[in-house]
Assembly symmetry: C2
Homo-oligomer: 417 residues x 2
């Protein structure tokens, strides 16, 4: 019999009792704390902790804090225990909360009445480049289809270190950045606002327990270090990127803002949506080989809302499953040098594009560097994002009867200073 | 009349009363706290704070803490006031400490009796590539002398985001990392310990007050955000780097370990050693132009101690002054996109090489990618660093009668796991 809550959760909700994603929320009055989403509500874990509903062998301050980092450090047994307690407390046949209206008043908040914050203090942020179709499309634009992929691409999950300080939570407006741009017809670059502001549809996972500096993580233990996923929009300025990125990679083109969704969906909630990883050729080196390596079937969409559109227009429909490299491979590769991962670190997928044109995860690919502008239903066109545009990414898994969703990550473009 | 302390400081010491660098130390018993170096001693600022010798308008816990971050956030007026109080308390003619042996016993520790830690919680770490000779040498090896510099190099201070979690304090041993290496004679890469472990002689500065996300920093205010300098060794694995770095820059080749010196030398202490920035051609864009832009005259050396050498052998002699881009330019460029810098962020110079062969700041350049091995005085040779080798970087400014020095950053190479 399916798990059911005494909280009424509509069928299309992202947050049924099977999900229970973790986040940091701030009520209208009071400090930020840890919560879990169910339906239209947030469950206040700090309040439950005070009522001694958790016995994780820790001090009582695990959830009365403005980041998940302490909880992340505890690892999977504690995460599972917390999830089991919550699923029990929220179940239709458990009277503890269901029949205690005073306690319910203290523990439940309407999501519309709270402000979400970043789920963790993110120490280091790494961005992979793990979508074959994204890498192939971008490489084709730069070097032609014969040399689209660098020789290393199918041997290792390419990645770079990103900027952690400018990661913001969904809803934060993004200021169009300035940077050096090199017009094709002049010998000198100019400083100005980017003329090719882009989104990148990505997902990212939060690190739980870390590894010590100098000690790699075996691929069959990689999952032990991963807590859960958020949606990510890795805003990018393509003209700045084109001029600055050689030889050391993107810098100002990416470090002005990266947006993530506030609710972290756990690997436990994603378990029913595991799928086999797509075949890899050449076979990965042994440190990247995991028998029965897997991915997840996660539907992903990007919607564009211009100032003039009546309703947002879906411009990307893709799936997490199309990524070439698995999260176990990404983590094992990241740590093979002995690089120490820490609770709260964020590892992102890179833009997730599929084979179909509609599955391309950024404007760069969708418009082929501006050559084929997007046509919107009201007659507007877009080569790149314009001031006032709002870009929203959403994602969900679907089973008979319920969804495990990620909510959304949204951001509106502000004009340059 | 020159400033003089009642503490006896030898002429060649790095830490006279003119310097007073800040760091975090741990006595044999007790918690880590903020200290300042003078001669062979550390002054315990937490102890002085308890005695109410500082009146910075803050709570009393500014120095009873294991990082400089809170102090960094206060900005230059507070830094200057603290320095003035310390120079007064340590001056030869101030009796407060000089004549109170009980207080001196509480406030002074011998440096040899304490353990130094990282000076700050480093949120984000950025590495520039600001040495013309380094970039030119590396570019010449990769692309020949005609195309040595990328077209952007003289227009902007090229940089990339590095890994913050693996920054360690001087004395920490560095484990030879594993990574993917592509032998020239095979079609597939292999996983193995790097065969071309290198050091990079760098300096790095710590950020004080930050800027808000979306708000650039004007170049004439850049210095307000900079607290002081440390020495840095950006350990690098050249074979891993060669295979992985395209198109997104270095990753595993650098993220296994980066070492810094424990004492942060303030801009105030460096003031007497300012020098005009070398001429730049082409003229920088206005946002990078500062009238009377400056650098510092800092002598820098790298010493190699092998297991067999009787004394360390100096393999690099260079100077901070040879850098093409100034620290004001680096900071203004970093923030021009609106990227938010935060207290405790670390911005590094990149390898500091001069025009002379002996001034090359890494083995890659010194041995020209292994083609011309270093010859050591005892007959040993080195293409790259070997297990058991210890690499030490030191640096100092010199005036008539005193030095303002940085101490050193040292690390010994451990064999691979």
């Amino acid at each position: 019999m399916p798990l059911k809550s005494f909280i009424d959760v509509p069928r299309e909700s992202h947050f049924p009792i099977q999900n229970l994603p973790f986040g940091i929320f701030r009520p209208r009055t009071g400090a930020a704390r840890v919560g879990v989403a169910i339906g239209e509500y947030v469950v206040d874990l700090a309040a439950l902790e005070q009522k001694e509903h958790f016995a994780l062998g820790q001090d009582r301050q695990l959830f009365s804090t403005d980041s998940l980092n302490a909880f992340l450090a505890l690892g999977r047994p504690a995460w599972r225990e917390t999830r089991a307690i919550l699923q029990h407390l929220l179940a239709a046949d458990t009277p503890t909360l269901r029949d205690d209206s005073a306690l319910r008043d203290r523990v439940f908040y309407a999501q519309k009445d709270v402000t979400m914050q970043l789920p963790a203090r993110i120490g280091d942020y790494t961005d992979f480049y793990s979508s074959y179709h994204h890498a192939h499309n971008v490489g084709t634009m730069l070097r032609g289809p014969e040399n689209a992929l660098m020789p290393n691409w199918k041997w290792l999950p390419v990645a770079y270190h990103g900027r952690a300080s400018s990661i913001v939570v969904s809803g934060t407006e993004v200021r169009r950045p300035h940077g050096q741009i090199k017009p094709p017809d002049t010998s000198a670059p100019v400083l100005g606002p980017t003329k090719s502001l882009d989104y990148e549809l990505e997902m990212a996972f939060l690190i739980g327990p870390g590894n010590s500096l100098g000690e790699p993580v075996a691929i069959d233990r990689a999952i032990d270090h991963i807590f859960g996923f958020v949606l990510m929009n890795d805003w990018s300025a393509r003209d700045i990127q084109a001029w600055e990125y050689q030889p050391l990679g993107p810098f100002l083109a990416k470090n002005f803002c990266t947006s993530i969704s506030p609710w972290v969906v756990t690997l436990e909630a994603l378990e029913p949506f595991r799928k086999p990883l797509l075949p890899q050729d050449p076979a990965p080196l042994p440190y990247l080989h995991l028998t029965n390596d897997f991915t997840y079937d996660i539907h992903l969409e990007a919607r564009l809302q211009t100032a003039k559109l009546n309703v947002p227009h879906i411009i990307t429909r893709t799936n997490f499953q199309s990524l070439y490299w698995s999260i176990s491979q990404q983590l094992a590769h990241h740590a093979v040098s002995g690089c120490n991962l820490q609770p709260g670190d964020l590892l992102a997928s890179g833009t997730i594009s599929g084979a179909a044109e509609e599955s391309r995860g950024c404007m760069l690919e969708l418009t082929w560097r501006g050559a084929n502008p997007l046509k919107l239903p009201n007659g507007e066109t877009r080569k790149w994002l314009e001031d006032g545009d709002e870009l929203t990414i959403t994602g969900w898994c679907e089973e008979d009867g319920y969804r495990v969703g990620f909510g959304e990550v949204a951001g509106r473009v502000l004009p340059p200073l």
